[in-house]
Symmetry: C2
Subunit: 419 residues, 2 copies
C-alpha cells in the first residue's frame, strides 16, 4: 500500500471505531459478556485454520532467520489457541467497571452529582510477535466498552488475521458492532505512525512489546500512551530483614523468570544486614551472574566487577547488580537515582522502616516483604492486564479493565438555575 | 534572555521542582495547610506592594492599547488582593486527597494490596493576564503536594512577581521547600515551548486562558495537558419539559454570564414541546441575539438567520443558536456532531428520556433539569478548580485537588515468593 494512503486507511478505521464505540458504551455487562463468550467459541472452532495460518508465519520467520525466542513467541498450536480462547472467557468473567458510581454527592442546592465510569472510547494496541495479543487485547477493550484498533507485528500477520477473523465473527454473532475490534489489514510500518498521530480518532495507544517499540511509540505519539519503557526493579534487604526470607525473596525476585518486567535487576543490601553471604551464594549457585564492587566480591567471590551502567541496566537475564548501602535512606536515594518507577521492594521486619520506604519510593508499585515478580495484573487480582504503566497520569502499575475507563459527571436537578 | 538559554533555565527549574516535589509528597495535610495559611498572610501583608507592581503592568498595558476586558482582568486593587489571599485560605481548607486509600484487597496468598493517592509531581501552569492565578494555581498545586512551575502573561509580569514573592515567602515560612512554587522569571515566549517539551521534568501542563493559548499548548505539548479548548454547551428542551423550568433554565444557561465556558451556546427544542414561544421571547427580551432557521423565526421574529458555522461556534457572548429537533435522539445526535464534550443538559419531566440523554451524551458533564452554568469546581463542591478538562484521560470536567493526584500500589506481604 502506498504510504500516502495509510493515514486515510487509519482515519477510516478510526471513524468506524468511533461509531462502534458509541454502541459499545451502551451495551450491558451481560451483553458484552455474551459476545466475548461467543468470540471464545469462534476462536476454538477456528483452531485448525488459526494453526494453519500460523504455520505460514512460522515458515517465513524461519526463512528470514528469526531467533529461537521470537519463534517461540510467534508459534501457535492447538493448546495455545485453546489457552487464547480460555483467556477471552476469563476476560468475560471479570467485573465490568462501566456504569459504576465512583462517588455521589448532594449539594446544598439539591443538585445530585455522580461520577460514573464510562469507556475511554477508541484504544489503539500496537504489538509485536505474540499473536494471542490479538484476542487478549481485543477482549479487554471490548469488555470495557471500548473499540479497539489492533496493529500486530508483520511477522504474525496471517496468525493475527485468522485470530481476528474468528474474534470479530464471534463478537458480531454475540451482538457487538462489526467494528468493535478491527485489525489493521496492512503490514506497512507507516500504519504505526498514522495511529500514533490519529488525534481525535484514537484516544489512547498501548504498545505491547520490547523496549524499541515502546521507545518509538513514546517518541512519536501525539495521542496519550499507556506503557512502561523499563522495569528496572530493586529489592532492598534491610538490616532488620529476616535472613531466610531475604534469601528466598532475592532468589525469587531475580530468578523465577528473568525476562519479565517485574524481575529484580538490582539488589541493595544494608551494610548492617548480618547475613548477606548465603543470599549471594544462593543466587550464584542458581546460575545468576552477580555484578558488584570489591565490597560485594569480598562477600561472594564469584561476583564480577560492576560498571557504572550496571545500575541503569534492565538485564532481563540471569544477571544481577548488587550494592551495599547504608540503610533504607541510601536505598531510597539509589532507587530515586536509578529506578524506572516500576516495582521496588523492601525486605525488613521493621514496620517503621518499611512504611518509610513504601511512602518515599516513588514507583507505581512498592512492596514490603514480597517478590517483585508479583507485579502482574493477574497476581493483583485484576484478571488479564492490557499493560503495566510507569507513567504518572490516568493509570499506574498493572492496568486492566478499570484503566480502560474514564468517567463522566452526571448532574440531576429539579430546575436549579445558577444564582 | 537568549532563546538558547531558555530550555536550560526551564530544566534547572524542573530539577529544583522535582526535588521540592519529593519533600512536598512527604508533608502532612496539616503541614501543607499551615504553609498555605502563612502564604495567605504574606499576600495580605504585601498588598500595597502588589497593587503598586500591578500599577506598573496597568500603565504598560494601557500604553500598548490593551482592550478594556483585558485591562479589567489584569487590574488588582486592595479588594482583589484580599480575595486572592482568601482564595489561598479556601484551598487550605479543602480535604487533602493525598494518602487516601482508593481501594484495598487481600489476595488469597495473603498479600495486601492498597492503592494510595499520591501527588502527580511537577505541574506546569501557563496562563494569561489574570495575576490571581499565580496564587490560586500555586496554592492548589502545593496543597495537593505538587511542585508548580508558573508562567504567567508577560503583561502581568510585575504583578505576578510580587504575588509570587509573597506566596513563596509565606510557603517557605510555613515549612515548604523554596522551590515548591516557582515563577518563570522571564517573559520570553520560548519559555512556554520549553515547558511544553520538558518531558520527565514537568509531569502535566495546565493552560489557563483563551482558546489560542490552549490550542498552542495542545499542538506543541509533549507532556500531558489538562484543558478544554471549547465549551460548546447545549441545552435541550424536551417535549416533556416543564415550560416554566425550560424558560428559566434556558435564560440562566445562556445569559447569567455569557463569557464562561459553561454558558449554553446552542438551544435545541423538541418540535413536540408545546411552549417554545415564551422561551425564545424571554431570551430576546433579555438582549440575546437568536440565530436560527425559518422555523425558529416563525416562533420568534427577532431571530437572525443561522449559518452552518453557528452550530460549531462558542460565542461567549449574548448570542444563541436555536434549532428545532425531533426528540431526544435527534438532540443527542446533534450534540455528538457539534458538541465539545464539555457540558450538555436536558430539560424534561420524563425520567426515562433523561436517563437516555445522560447515558448517551458523551460529555464530561451531563445535566438533567439544571443550568449548564453550574459547570464549575466551586459549584461542584470541589473548592477552587485548576481547570476544566474535556480530555478523556485522567480527569474530566472540573479538576481540583483530586485531579492533581495519581496513585501508587502498596503491597504488604509476609515473605511471599511468586510460585
Amino acid at each position: 500500500m502506498a504510504d500516502s494512503d495509510i493515514p486515510g486507511l487509519i482515519a477510516e478505521m478510526g471513524k468506524r471505531a468511533r461509531a462502534a464505540a458509541v454502541q459499545l458504551a451502551g451495551m450491558t455487562s451481560d451483553a458484552k459478556r455474551g459476545a466475548l463468550l461467543s468470540a471464545a467459541a469462534a476462536i476454538r472452532a477456528d483452531s485448525e485454520s488459526i494453526v494453519a495460518a500460523n504455520a505460514r508465519d512460522m515458515a517465513s520467520a524461519q526463512a528470514s532467520g528469526l531467533s529461537g525466542a521470537l519463534l517461540d513467541r510467534l508459534r501457535l498450536d492447538a493448546a495455545r489457541v485453546e489457552s487464547t480462547a480460555a483467556g477471552v472467557e476469563a476476560v468475560a468473567g471479570l467485573d465490568d467497571p462501566v456504569g459504576r458510581t465512583i462517588d455521589r454527592v448532594e449539594r446544598p442546592n439539591g443538585l445530585v452529582l455522580s461520577r460514573i465510569r464510562i469507556p475511554i472510547g477508541v484504544i489503539g494496541i500496537i504489538y509485536e510477535s505474540r499473536p494471542n495479543v490479538t484476542a487478549d487485547a481485543g477482549a479487554l477493550a471490548a469488555m470495557s466498552g471500548n473499540a479497539a484498533i489492533l496493529r500486530g507485528g508483520s511477522e504474525a500477520i496471517h496468525s493475527n488475521r485468522a485470530i481476528h477473523a474468528a474474534l470479530a465473527r464471534g463478537l458480531a454473532a454475540g451482538g457487538m458492532p462489526p467494528a468493535a475490534v478491527q485489525l489493521v489489514p496492512v503490514t506497512d510500518r507507516a500504519a504505526v505512525g498514522a495511529m500514533l498521530t490519529a488525534e481525535g480518532l484514537i484516544d489512547m495507544v498501548v504498545p505491547r512489546g520490547g523496549k524499541s517499540l515502546v521507545a518509538r511509540v513514546q517518541a512519536e505519539a501525539r495521542v496519550p500512551v499507556l506503557a512502561h519503557l523499563d522495569g528496572l526493579c530493586h529489592t532492598y534487604i534491610d538490616r532488620a530483614a529476616n535472613p531466610a526470607m531475604a534469601q528466598s525473596l532475592a532468589l525469587n525476585a531475580k530468578m523465577r523468570r528473568t525476562g519479565i518486567c517485574g524481575a529484580t535487576e538490582t539488589l541493595l543490601i544494608d551494610r548492617a544486614f548480618a547475613d548477606p553471604t548465603p543470599v549471594l551464594a544462593a543466587l550464584a549457585d542458581a546460575g545468576c551472574e552477580l555484578r558488584g564492587d570489591g565490597e560485594v566480591r569480598a562477600i561472594e567471590p564469584r561476583t564480577c566487577p560492576a560498571a557504572c551502567e550496571d545500575w541503569d541496566t534492565e538485564y532481563l537475564d540471569s544477571i544481577l547488580s548488587v550494592k551495599l548501602v547504608d540503610g533504607a535512606d541510601a536505598a531510597i536515594a539509589h532507587i530515586a537515582a536509578h529506578g524506572s518507577h516500576h516495582t521496588d521492594a523492601i525486605v525488613t521486619e521493621d514496620a517503621a522502616t518499611a512504611e518509610r520506604f513504601l511512602a518515599q519510593v516513588d514507583s507505581a508499585i512498592v512492596m514490603w516483604n514480597a517478590s517483585t515478580q508479583f507485579a502482574d495484573g493477574g497476581e493483583f487480582g485484576l484478571g488479564a492486564e492490557i499493560g503495566i504503566s510507569t507513567g504518572r497520569l490516568h493509570a499506574r502499575g498493572p492496568v486492566a479493565l478499570e484503566g480502560l475507563t474514564t468517567y463522566k459527571w452526571v448532574v440531576r436537578g429539579t430546575g436549579q438555575a445558577r444564582p
